[in-house]
């Protein structure tokens, strides 16, 4: 469980994170989505007590992160996979974490196994690792303490498709056993596959929060008929918004059943009628953050015009 309340971070006049509130529930993977510079990483650092908040608060498992005794055993954190000493071996990185948090050192082997780093790889220095291997090592560090909460910033970055698939299964499994997962990414497709709840942030503000299916559901219907022009006329008379698609068919702002009734009344033969496709996360994302993107040109700071 992570609770973020009115979290705000200012750097001088610039507002990096502006009154952000959301909760991350156990049993779910919550995706934290936003364009670069939207404040994702700053928010995550504030949750972990690394960046002091200007105002507001964040609690993890009911306490501020910094008040957790031995937080490595309660919360697994990966904020930057590249932030490892290049001169240490992968195994040594985990050994240090195990010593510090008091984890049985036998867990190092099983965790390395879990993230798919071989004995040979773990004996190499981190400086020689690919980004994907560093991500795996970072996820291993996060999981080492057998935590209840995972906070991962862009963990899919640098993973190959198989690695991304593996991570998705891992997070699914973690959440299904009652774990809490907060995961940031700009890889929209991945987020769509792995997260069941989503928080969208744009220029420091939460612009949408909720269940992925709710956010992606789009009202409306798609219809094709033997006489689209007549059907469009009939629908417009009924007050529904209609868009004639270049590829044939109509996109209608009405439920399929109402479109069917209108067609029956107008005597038009339907060839195809179904609910509109759910939007991709990409469309949602671009739509929600578009305003911010347009306001941006020329602005040096991220001063927010209050909506």
């Amino acid at each position: 469980m992570i609770t973020v309340e009115h979290l705000t971070k200012r750097y001088g006049p610039a507002v990096a994170v502006d009154d952000v509130s959301f909760t991350v529930e156990p049993g779910h993977v919550t995706g934290f989505l936003g364009p670069n510079g939207a404040g994702k990483s700053t928010t995550m650092r504030m949750i972990c007590g690394l960046t002091p908040a200007t105002s507001g608060s964040a609690r993890v498992l009911g306490k501020p992160f910094t008040a957790l005794a031995n937080p490595g055993r309660r919360v697994g954190v990966l904020l930057d996979a590249a932030a490892q000493h290049s001169g240490r071996t992968g195994r040594e990185v985990l050994t240090l974490a195990a010593l510090m948090t008091g984890v049985d050192r036998r867990r190092i082997d099983s965790t390395l196994d879990l993230v798919g780093l071989t004995d040979r790889e773990s004996a190499r220095r981190v400086g020689q690792y690919s980004l994907g291997m560093r991500q795996r090592l970072g996820i291993a560090s996060a999981l080492l303490g057998d935590p209840e909460v995972l906070i991962l910033d862009e963990p899919a970055n640098g993973l190959d498709p198989a690695g991304i698939r593996w991570m998705r299964d891992l997070l699914d499994d973690f959440a299904s056993r009652g774990g809490t997962v907060l995961l940031s990414s700009h890889l929209l497709r991945e987020m769509e596959a792995v997260a069941d709840r989503i928080v969208v942030i744009g220029r420091g503000r939460v612009v949408a929060e909720g269940h992925k299916d709710d956010l992606l559901r789009q009202a409306g219907a798609f219809v094709r008929s033997t006489d689209d022009a007549a059907l469009a006329r009939a629908l417009r008379q009924g007050g529904a918004g209609v868009e004639e698609l270049a590829t044939g068919g109509l996109s209608v702002e009405a439920e399929p059943i109402d479109v069917g009734r209108a067609a029956a009344a107008a005597g038009v033969v339907l060839a195809e009628l179904r609910a509109a496709d759910s939007r991709g996360l990409e469309d949602l994302f671009l739509e929600l953050t578009a305003d911010d993107a347009r306001e941006q040109p020329g602005a040096q700071t991220r001063m927010e015009v209050s909506a």
């Binding site: 002091p52 031995n70 490595g72 904020l79 932030a83 490892q84 240090l96 010593l99 057998d146």
Partner: protein, 270 residues
């Protein structure tokens, strides 16, 4: 904006039976041991200590070779402690700066958010390394003296007092705390090392040029005030007072500043 309603009931998911009620808080001893290991588990750290050991051995070898090897134990000890005095603070610097130059601060302070404890653990661990090295070099000096007595007919002179050893130990403590302090304060290895090596020297030089500074210098220059520690001459009351004020300026102030900066600042990976 959609509310945080969960469509999928949480009850269908099985709660994981958790077996971690025995989470122990991090002790300072644990932190210190981890920090000590961090000084030694990288090539940079190992090389630093190895270089000190090699230079020490080289100095001893040269001393054994020249002028018939006829040196007292104390002469050998002075020979070994000089390179140590130069290089030990760098071990302290590295212990602190590597967190930033290698960006491990992000992980370190996530695992232990009480940053001042981490900083103090670094000081204690660095002092531990320094004292271990001191014992090793005194041992080497003793061995060197034993060898010249046995094989080069040198006069046996086991003339190192307990006081001299304690003075050396105190100087190691000061060097290490100073190194960690400058490292935490400046966060950059080159900047910290250059400042550490040059600042007191420049300070001493400039002080020598200013008339009237000669009286003040022993009170504010650690090099001058700390000299008796390295060469074993007994400190009197005034000497201790001078060591105290110089330590305040060159060891305590940077360390407190470094710890303060660490506790206050934002820990970020870039």
């Amino acid at each position: 904006m959609t509310t945080a309603s969960s469509v999928e009931p949480v009850e269908t998911r099985t709660r994981r039976p958790r077996a971690t009620p025995d989470v122990r808080p991090l002790t300072f001893a644990t932190l210190t041991l981890v920090e000590w290991r961090k000084q030694l588990d990288t090539r940079a750290g190992r090389w630093m200590l190895a270089v000190i050991a090699i230079i020490t051995a080289a100095v001893l070898a040269v001393m054994m070779a020249v002028s018939g090897g006829n040196h007292s134990f104390s002469a050998f000890v002075v020979g070994t402690t000089t390179p140590m005095a130069m290089l030990l603070p760098i071990v302290g610097v590295l212990a602190a700066t590597s967190e930033w130059s290698q960006r491990t601060a992000l992980v370190t302070f996530t695992l232990e958010p009480r940053r001042t404890r981490v900083g103090l653990a670094k000081v204690v661990a660095a002092i531990g390394s320094g004292l271990a090295l001191l014992v090793l070099t005194i041992g080497l000096a003793a061995l060197a003296h034993l060898l010249v007595v046995a094989f080069r007919d040198a006069d046996p002179a086991w003339d190192v007092s307990v006081r001299a050893v304690l003075y050396l130990a105190l100087s190691v403590v000061l060097f290490m705390a100073q190194g960690v302090g400058f490292g935490l304060l400046l966060r950059s290895t080159p900047a910290a090392i250059v400042t550490l090596l040059l600042a007191p020297t420049l300070f001493g030089l400039l002080g020598g040029l200013v008339p009237g500074m000669a009286d003040v210098l022993p009170w504010v220059d650690l090099g001058t005030a700390g000299e008796p520690l390295l060469f074993g001459s007994a400190l009197d009351g005034e000497g201790w007072a001078q060591l105290g004020t110089a330590t305040l300026i060159w060891v305590v102030a940077p360390l407190v500043g470094g710890l303060w900066r660490t506790a206050r600042s934002e820990i970020s990976s870039s």
